[in-house]
């Protein structure tokens, strides 16, 4: 309950609102609490109920400039916020982070590199480890089989756009996936593999490995595997991991210097 206690301390003083979760019928749903309803805030954070809080923060800050917010963040949420700030989408000055560490079971199934934020208010820190098992397994296959693997997964896509809608780093007002010249409208499955590769290359320098995309996919396409590989590619060529540094910008978002390209 440490996060709720901290929230109660700061509401109405350092912050105007706390973005956290409200219990409702057995679930915990996102809610912006103010001083009047802060006591209804949930004190527990089940692993199966992760939401793109950084997207909600971005929209709240855009519509209410200068608002002071606190938000409950896991490791991945903090990475997303750091990356969004570098892209000018979020203002960390007016944001208080209430850090939540993921428990051992979630850290194991999720498989991200750091299942805790930089400052933990609630939860025991558990060391994670980037799970590249599936990536390595696929790299061991011959190219023909690898292509069959990917196309057979992509072929069941129903174009729900859940992966894009839930991604904290997807905020473009005009999305390439809606562009009729790139992806035909009204086709299901969408053009393969360009539909999924468009997302994959866009995730270069952006994906913070939160896993919300794969959770939102009704088909269970192994998106995280693909985006993790893209993350490895970016790290190997540019020594860059999204969400780590608040200062170093993604090399794919700036032209850079001559050293970068020689």
């Amino acid at each position: 309950m440490a996060i709720k206690d901290r929230a109660r301390d700061i509401i109405g003083k350092e912050v105007d609102g706390v973005l956290a979760f409200r219990p409702e019928g057995g679930s915990h749903v996102p809610h912006l609490f103010n001083a009047d309803d802060i006591d209804q805030m949930a004190g527990e954070y089940p692993a199966g109920e992760r939401y793109p809080v950084s997207s909600i923060v971005r929209r709240l800050q855009a519509a209410r400039p200068g608002v002071r917010l606190a938000v409950v963040v896991r490791g991945c949420d903090e990475r997303a916020l750091i990356e969004l700030e570098k892209q000018g989408q979020v203002d960390m000055e007016h944001l208080v982070l209430l850090g939540l560490a993921c428990d051992g079971e979630l850290a194991g199934t999720c498989g991200c590199a750091q299942p805790y934020p930089s400052e933990v208010v609630q939860g025991e820190k558990v060391e994670g480890g980037l799970d590249l098992g599936m990536v390595e397994k696929l790299e061991g296959l011959p190219p023909g089989e690898r292509l069959d693997y990917w196309l057979s997964r992509f072929a069941a896509c129903v174009k729900c756009f859940g992966c894009r809608n839930v991604c904290p780093l997807c905020y473009c007002k005009e999305c390439a996936l809606d562009e009729p010249g790139l992806v035909d409208h009204g086709e299901q499955p969408p053009l393969l593999p360009v539909f999924h590769l468009i997302r994959a290359v866009d995730m270069a320098g952006r994906c913070v490995d939160c896993g919300l995309c794969e959770e939102a996919c009704p088909i269970g396409i192994p998106l995280r595997t693909l985006y993790r590989k893209v993350g490895e590619v970016v790290e190997s060529h540019f020594e860059y991991r999204p969400g780590r540094s608040p200062d170093k910008k993604s090399p794919l978002s700036v032209l850079g210097t001559e050293e970068d390209v020689t």
Binding site: G17, L19, R22, E24, G25, G26, S27, V29, P30, H31, L32, F33, N34, D37, P46, G48, E49, R50, Y51, P52, I56, R59, L60, A63, R64, V158, K159, C160, F161, G162, N165, V166, E215, A216, C217, P218
Partner: protein, 136 residues
């Protein structure tokens, strides 16, 4: 009232009944999030679910019944509209028999509403000319 809240509900589109959260921001419906942990949809939605907030505030939505007389179309009360429909249906059934009318129901209606349309068609009017957009 909170500036931003989410309301758990069920998607109105088809019979699956996926759970979703309606995002209410500044008193307006602005978006949808999947309802994680829902027994039917488990945090996933199809394209219809993801965009189901768009039609609620759409300017194209009818706010009241409209009756067209000749070239003019005017808004009327629900009572007048239902009266006109019931009167005309009855007139057609009286003049041409029960099988001259047909009934179409919808997956956007509840099961109970679809059952009532069936009763109306078969027991009240006396026809089996009834169908459903999902051919139910």
């Amino acid at each position: 009232m909170s500036d931003y809240r989410t309301v758990p509900t069920i998607c109105p589109y088809c019979g699956t009944g996926c759970g979703m959260l309606l995002e209410v921001f500044g008193g307006e419906l602005t978006g949808v999030l999947p309802w994680k942990g829902h027994p039917v949809s488990d945090g996933k939605l199809c394209i219809k679910g993801w965009t189901s907030h768009e039609f609620v505030g759409s300017p194209g939505r009818l706010a009241s019944p409209i009756i067209r007389r000749g070239d003019a179309a005017g808004e009327v009360s629900t009572d007048e509209a239902i009266g006109l429909v019931a009167g005309e249906l009855k007139r057609v059934v009286d003049e041409h028999g029960p099988d001259s009318v047909g009934f179409i129901c919808s997956a956007k209606c509840t099961n109970e509403e679809n059952y009532l349309v069936g009763k109306l068609a078969r027991a009240v009017v006396g026809t089996n000319n009834i169908d459903h957009c999902a051919r139910l």
